[in-house]
Structure formats: structure tokens, C-alpha cells
């Protein structure tokens, strides 16, 4: 096999190469020092560019942007304009938008019908012997089966005394070209975050106790939001990361460039490969 050109190597790195070509390139790479060198160089360039770009990013306020969008859309008259026919109309997007008089009337009718059903149910429950109650009951609840017994809810597991002992929800991301970025959003004040270096190429995030965090990921980055109420988090950062950042509520708390680590965040404790932070009150 001849030397692989840059384009093929880049496509290989970006997972844009068909499987058959990948295997053949991989066998070539095991034997060809020049191509391996070129591949590593492209990997290095990719990691540098990614780290540079990540460094200029700022926090994104999606919820407020959505609110703004709704207001803007309402100000523009609400309803979407007619399709221009340029793109085929399959599974087209719709957004209900703010209430219009017609939509309001439809919603009111639905609400009135629901209310009537609820009242009927209540009357049936309150006066089961009455003919009206019986009719409503037969109509709404045709089965004569006895009501099922209430579901037995098991007692909640006791909360661990120290949150470190019970890191529950775990999510993670692999490094991409030696770079990894972790963003934690909506962390409450006084939340502790412990970041530690670990072996392997997997960055992991654990929250103590149950939480309903939202997670978004991309190549080499992960964003966990909706962290209100979590009081302790652990972040495992690959020791091998060439570039890594941990960003909390839009601020960089820890940055790793090669072996060098800087911690602009609110550090409360350092212990070997571990650093603990506490979000401001």
C-alpha cells in the first residue's frame, strides 16, 4: 500500500472512513512509520485546535434563550408562515406557540369536558346509589372489578451519612484526541466538587444521591446541567489528558495542559491527585 494522504488520515481520525478502508489503513499504519507519524501529527493539531476553541467558549443560557424565542415569536404574530415548498414536507416541524383565540377556545372546551368528567366521577363516588351516579359510574367505569389495592411503596433507602460513600448516578465521556472538557451547570451554592486524576481515557462524573441532571455530550465534552440540590460531586479526569478543563457554572475551575494543572476555582482542599472545591454562597 502506498503512503496514506492527509485527507484519508484525517477521515480515519474523524470516523468518516468505511470499515473496509479502515482495516486496510490500520494494517498499513502498523508497518509504516511515516504514516503513523503523520497520523499522530494530525491528532496533535486536532487536540490543539480543540483546546484553543474550548478556551474561548462561554456559558450558554438555553432556558432563557428559549423564553426569549417564545416572546420574539409571539411578537411576530405567532403562527408559522406558509411553507415555501423548497424542501419536501415530510415530518415537518411544528411549535404550538403562544395561545391564539382559536387555540384558547379549543383548550377551554377540552378543559370543560375534563371538568365534567371529573365532576361525574366525584358524584359517582359520593352518591354511589343514585341513578345519575350509577349511570355516570357505569359510563365512566364500566368494569365491576373491585378497585385494586393501593400500591405499596417500599421505604426509601436511607441517605448515606457522608455523600462520598454513596456516589450514585455516574456519567462519563472518553477523551477525544487527548482533550476532554467537563461542564457542570446550575450547581447550587456550597456544593462540593472533588476532582481527581485517574488512569485510562474515561472522564466520569458522579453525583451523591439521586439527581435529575440533564446530560449533553459531544466528541470529548460532556455537560451536566440541572444540578440544583446536589451537594457533592466527584469528577474523574484522565491523567493522560493533554488538555482538560472542568467548568462550573460558566467558570473554569480546573485546567490541565499536559502535566500542568491550574485551579482557578474556589479550592478548599488538596490531597495528592485530588482537589476539592466548594461553590460560592
Amino acid at each position: 500500500m502506498m503512503h496514506a494522504d492527509q485527507g484519508r488520515l484525517q477521515a480515519y481520525l474523524d470516523h468518516e472512513m468505511p470499515e473496509a478502508h479502515r482495516s486496510s489503513l490500520e494494517s498499513h499504519l502498523t508497518a509504516c512509520v511515516a504514516c503513523r507519524g503523520e497520523l499522530e501529527e494530525l491528532q496533535r493539531l486536532g487536540a490543539e485546535v480543540r483546546a484553543a476553541l474550548v478556551g474561548i467558549d462561554m456559558a450558554v443560557g438555553t432556558a432563557s434563550a428559549l423564553q426569549k424565542f417564545r416572546e420574539r415569536h409571539a411578537a411576530l404574530g405567532g403562527a408559522p408562515a406558509a411553507a415555501n415548498g423548497r424542501i419536501r414536507p415530510r415530518g415537518q416541524l411544528r411549535w404550538a406557540g403562544p395561545p391564539t383565540p382559536a387555540r384558547f377556545a379549543r383548550a377551554s372546551l377540552l378543559k370543560a369536558a375534563s371538568l365534567a368528567l371529573l365532576l361525574g366521577g366525584a358524584l359517582y363516588a359520593a352518591v354511589p346509589g343514585s341513578p345519575l351516579g350509577r349511570w355516570i359510574g357505569d359510563t365512566l367505569f364500566p368494569s365491576d372489578e373491585p378497585a385494586s389495592s393501593p400500591e405499596i411503596v417500599p421505604p426509601q433507602a436511607p441517605v448515606a451519612a457522608t455523600p462520598e460513600e454513596a456516589p450514585s448516578d455516574v456519567t462519563g465521556i472518553r477523551m477525544a484526541e487527548g482533550a476532554v472538557q467537563i461542564r457542570l451547570r446550575s450547581l447550587s451554592p456550597n456544593t462540593r466538587v472533588r476532582i481527581r486524576l485517574v488512569d485510562g481515557d474515561l472522564a466520569q462524573i458522579r453525583a451523591a444521591g439521586p439527581f435529575e441532571g440533564t446530560t449533553r455530550t459531544g466528541a470529548g465534552w460532556i455537560e451536566v446541567g440541572n444540578l440544583e440540590g446536589v451537594d457533592f460531586m466527584m469528577v474523574d479526569l484522565p491523567r493522560a489528558a493533554v488538555r482538560a478543563t472542568v467548568e462550573v457554572n460558566g467558570q473554569v475551575w480546573l485546567r490541565k495542559v499536559g502535566p500542568e494543572i491550574t485551579t482557578p476555582g474556589p479550592v478548599t482542599e488538596r490531597n495528592g491527585d485530588e482537589v476539592t472545591f466548594r461553590s460560592g454562597s
Partner: protein, 160 residues
Amino acid sequence: VDFDGLFQRLYPSLFRYLHRLTGDADMAEDVAQESFVRLLRQPLTEEEVRPWLFTVAMNLVRDGARKTERRHRLLATAPALVTQGRLPDEDVERSERIEAVRQVLDRLPERDRQLLLMREEGFKYEEIAAVVGVAPASVGTLIARALRRFVDLYDTREIR
């Protein structure tokens, strides 16, 4: 299709792309918002939405850039008012780094910028090719060259 869900899924990526592209958070937000408003008029399938949004956003940025250029020409004679407070070292270092990256992005040809930024947002080569207007088979080579140009410009600037 749940438009709110779609907005929540695509807005962060579009905003990040636009902010990286323009260096202007307000403009990034305005353009992203306008792109979503225009999206409502389009009967697109879900898989068509993302490339469409980014293409429209890019066109809006180009239009905005033309208007800004005209405005800058008009303002060129007005003296600039600069106030600068003292920043902590960490912030100074960060703003210098941001400025360096911004300058590199500004000096790159538009096509290189688009290629690198779209790649970072996880677009497929085929989608990048459609937006940038090149053959899909050439995207790998163009990205490799753009990466090299970016790093060369960045390194040169840092040494100076």
C-alpha cells in the same frame, strides 16, 4: 416534532458555533434566535434541520458582517473611548488567550473557519461539504490543511 426539545438540543451547539465564529455573544444570540424563527417557516425533516440552521445562521452572519463593515467605515473618524480597569492575572491571561484565538480565527480564510468549527460541532463530512460548498471527498484534506494553518498562526502569534 417537539420544537422546544429541538430548540434545547440544537441551540447550545448553534450558539457556540456562532460565538466562536464571530466572537460576539450578542450577535451569536441574535443570529441563533433569528435562525430558529426562520426554521418555523420550513417544512423540514428532523435530519435536515441542523445543516439548514447552520447554513442560514452563516448567511445571517455574512449579511451582518457587511452591515457592520459599513458602520465601521462611518465610525472610523470618531475617537475610540477606552476604559480599562485592572484585571486579576488569571483574567488577564485568559483574555490574552481568547484574543489570540480570536485573531487566529479572524485571519483564517472563511472556508477554513467553517470547516474547523463545523467539525467541532460533530457534523458529518457530507453535511460540512454541503454547507461549505466543496466535494465530500475533499473535506478530510481541507480539514487537515485548516488545522495546520490554525496551529501555525497560533504558534507564530504566541512567539511574537
